[in-house]
Symmetry: C2
Subunit: 206 residues, 2 copies
C-alpha cells in the first residue's frame, strides 16, 4: 500500500509556463514538523509505542491534523520511510576500495539523522516495515554489488552478505547501543569492516 501525495484538492494550476513546483502552502511547515517529529518518535520507540498523540505533541499540533495530512498512522509511517541511501555511483567507484567507502558512507547515514534507526526499529516488528526495507536494499544495494562483483548473477547474494554486516553494525552500535560497539572510533570501524565488505563484494565465491 503505497502512500500517495495526498492533499486536499488544491486550486488548478493557472497559466502555462514552467511547473510552479507544487505551489507552497501555509501548512507545509506543519507537514514538515509532523514528519520530523514522526521520524524522531518512530526511531526512539518503534512503530507501536510511537503514538500519534505523542508525535502530534512533539510537533505542537492536534492529533487530528496528523490524520488529515497523512491519512492514517500507516500513511505517516510510509511517508517517513521514503529512504534514499544515496549510495555512490558504482561506475565511478574505485574497485579496490568499495568496502571502505561503503562502510564510511553507512556510518554517515546512521549519524546524519534517525531515519535508518527508525527504519530498523520498525522493520523488525512491522511487516510493512520489513517489506519496505527489503525493497530499499534490493533496489539500492544490489546494483552496487552487480558492478563490483565478478559474476553479476551472484549480486543479490553478495549484497545480502554486505547488508548483514552493515545492518549488524547499525543494530549493535545505534539501536542496541552495546557499549563496546559505541566506543569504537570511526576509523577503527572502517578498518575492521571495510575489508569484510570488500571481500563479500569482490572475492571469488568460496
Amino acid at each position: 500500500m503505497r502512500f500517495e501525495e495526498q492533499r486536499e484538492p488544491g486550486p488548478e494550476r493557472r497559466g502555462s509556463g514552467p511547473v510552479p513546483a507544487a505551489a507552497p502552502r501555509r501548512s507545509d511547515a506543519t507537514r514538515g514538523a509532523i514528519l520530523a517529529a514522526a521520524r524522531e518518535r518512530f526511531a526512539a520507540d518503534g512503530y507501536e509505542r510511537a503514538t500519534i498523540r505523542a508525535i502530534a505533541r512533539e510537533a505542537h499540533i492536534d492529533p487530528s491534523m496528523v490524520m488529515r495530512y497523512y491519512g492514517s498512522k500507516e500513511g505517516l509511517f510510509a511517508a517517513v520511510l521514503d529512504v534514499d541511501l544515496r549510495l555512490p555511483d558504482p561506475e565511478a567507484l574505485d574497485r579496490g576500495d568499495v568496502g571502505r567507502v561503503l562502510v564510511g558512507h553507512f556510518l554517515d547515514l546512521w549519524e546524519e539523522n534517525e531515519v535508518l534507526t527508525a527504519m530498523l526499529r520498525v522493520g523488525v516488528t512491522n511487516a510493512a516495515g520489513a517489506e519496505r526495507m527489503q525493497g530499499i536494499f534490493r533496489d539500492q544495494l544490489t546494483p552496487v554489488a552487480r558492478l563490483a562483483c565478478p559474476d553479476p548473477e551472484q549480486a543479490p547474494a553478495r549484497a545480502a552478505l554486505c547488508a548483514s554486516q552493515l545492518l549488524g553494525l547499525g543494530l549493535t552500535r545505534y539501536v542496541l547501543r552495546l557499549p563496546p560497539a559505541v566506543a569504537l572510533h570511526r576509523d577503527e570501524i572502517v578498518a575492521w569492516l571495510g575489508p569484510t565488505v570488500q571481500r563479500y563484494l569482490t572475492a571469488p565465491h568460496p
Copy 2:
C-alpha cells in the same frame, strides 16, 4: 529488575535427603505452555503486539493465569529471555577455526527455536530487552574473545565486532527475511562469514 522464581508459597520441604528438585506441581504443564506460547508470540510479533490475551489463547488458558504465574507482562518476558547461548568452551577450541565454529553454532541457535528471534525483536523496541541483550553478549561472547584474541584488553571490542556480524546475519536472514539471505545455504554462510569472525577475533589490530 530481575524476575524471581515467583510461586505461591508451597509446602515446606519435608525430610532431609537430596534436594527434591523443587517438588513438581500440577500447574507445571500450564506454566510451560505459557512460556512456549509467549516465546512464539514475542518472536513473531515483538513486545507490544504480543498481547497477553493472544499468548493465553495460544496456551489454551485464561489471560489471568499468565498474571498469576508470571506477575506481569514484563515478568513473563524476563522469564522467556533466560537465554543461554551455550557457546563452546573456549579452552577446547581450535584457535585456527573459531570463526567457522561460531558461525555454525549461531546458525544452529537461530534455527533450533525462536528464542533468539524473540530476543532480537524485543530488544530492538524495548529498553529492558536491549539491556538483557547487552548482558547476554557481554557475559557469554566476550570470554570467548578473551581467549581467542592476541590482547585480552581488546576482547570487548572484538566481541562487539563479532556480535555485529552474527546479529546482522540473524537480522537479515531470520527477522527481516531478505530473500537472498534466506536463500543462502548453510555451508555458504559458514564459508563467507567464518573468515570474517575469525579475523575479528584473531587478526592483529589494524
